[in-house]
């Protein structure tokens, strides 16, 4: 039972806090001979598998490294390896770097070892998804067959569940957990308390702005740990 991540969304749909508690690493390394069975496509975060699932490599996975050298966006540079890969890496193209797709379509480069995996959300994507959820929350009320419906409280997929708690002041607390995690509502209530205690009471915090209060982050992480271990977010 795991809590994957936790987000706070303000009244206008902006993401003001996010914490990734446990995100499983999905990576697969395999050696391929020419030609490659996949259809690859350049995306925003690198080269994605567009078509041709096999051996656990799924559509949507991104190429993370080739022959042990990490890629940089849509390019790979074998001569200057291991520049620190950061979260929101920009795509640098220098004179020694190769375009990944053209590199992989050249049969002289084979056999080649490619590592595929799911990339994590970068901060920009998180912002987009937060405001997307904000509007989905509103649409769920509009499409209700019953009077006075709230927005989405619990969204279920086969792999994870999303729980949302909206305070009367309009701030949304969102938690992503696996499907078996119980008592997440208590966690969200608890984080609301923590928000009131450590963010709102902080004289340097202004409302609806991103939360940078270290105590808030710390106590939220504690609450998530407690929920996973004891089934309750309270000590």
């Amino acid at each position: 039972m795991v809590v994957h991540s936790f987000y706070v969304i303000n009244r206008s749909g902006g993401l003001i806090f996010s914490d990734e508690h446990f995100i499983p690493k999905i990576e697969l390394e395999k050696t391929f001979s020419y030609p490659l069975d996949f259809v690859l496509k350049q995306g925003q975060k690198g080269v994605n598998v567009e078509f041709g699932q096999r051996d656990g490599i799924k559509v949507g996975h991104t190429i993370l490294s080739i022959n042990g050298v990490p890629v940089q966006g849509n390019f790979i540079d074998f001569s200057a390896p291991s520049t620190t890969a950061n979260d929101d890496d920009q795509q640098i193209s220098t004179s020694t770097s190769h375009d990944i797709i053209s590199y992989l379509s050249d049969s002289t480069n084979y056999p080649v070892t490619i590592k595929f995996g799911r990339t994590r959300l970068n901060s920009n994507e998180k912002l987009i998804l937060a405001s997307m959820f904000h509007s989905m929350y509103a649409i769920a009320c509009q499409l209700s067959p019953e009077l006075n419906s709230s927005g989405i409280r619990e969204l279920e997929t086969d792999q994870f569940k999303l729980y949302c708690f909206q305070s009367i002041t309009g701030i949304k607390f969102v938690a992503l957990t696996d499907t078996r995690q119980a008592n997440v509502d208590a966690l969200l209530k608890r984080t609301y308390e923590l928000y009131s205690d450590y963010a709102l009471k902080n004289p340097f915090y202004s409302i609806d702005q991103p939360i940078w209060c270290p105590l808030f982050r710390q106590t939220v992480q504690q609450a998530m740990d407690l929920l996973e271990k004891t089934g309750s977010p309270y000590t």
Binding site: P145, L147, I152, L155
Partner: protein, 148 residues
């Protein structure tokens, strides 16, 4: 437990069929607008879920709950989308939606020479509507329901 209404969309997002058994909130928009909104909504939930998921998804989006209703979603491999609104006490009814597709929709629409599975189901398809009503009203989740 209550079954509210059912939407069926084809792969192009056209609403093939709509039926309601109970609806307490009057529509705030025309029916056509509502179908479009619902289809767009399902589309965005699907892409939202896909991007947010920490793991690789198999079936993807299954359902969501608000404080007074639950929306259940089922998509066939051919892109037909079934959206069934029920109340919150209903568990996972994916199997029921699959059954609805495989027994009612396939038998009375797909195999029916007088209508096409990709076109709007008109009211002349009495047998489909009749069987659908029968299927829904025999469900355990329909039990005390809609008589209220």
């Amino acid at each position: 437990m209550v079954v509210y209404n059912l939407y069926i969309f084809n792969r192009n997002g056209q609403c093939l069929f709509y039926r309601e058994w109970l609806r307490r909130r009057p529509g705030t928009m025309t029916q056509e607008e509502e179908f479009k909104l619902m289809n767009g909504f399902m589309h965005s939930i699907k892409s939202f879920v896909q991007r947010l998921s920490p793991q690789d998804l198999k079936d993807g989006f299954v359902s969501f709950k608000t404080n007074c209703y639950k929306l259940n979603y089922y998509e066939t491999a051919t892109g037909l989308k079934f959206v069934l609104n029920t109340d919150n006490n209903v568990g996972n009814i994916r199997d029921i939606l699959h059954q609805l597709y495989s027994t009612i929709f396939v038998n009375y629409i797909v195999k029916n020479p007088s209508c096409s599975a990709t076109d709007i189901i008109n009211t002349e398809q009495e047998i489909f509507i009749e069987k659908l009503d029968e299927f829904i009203s025999n469900l355990s989740i329909f039990a005390q329901t809609n008589k209220a």
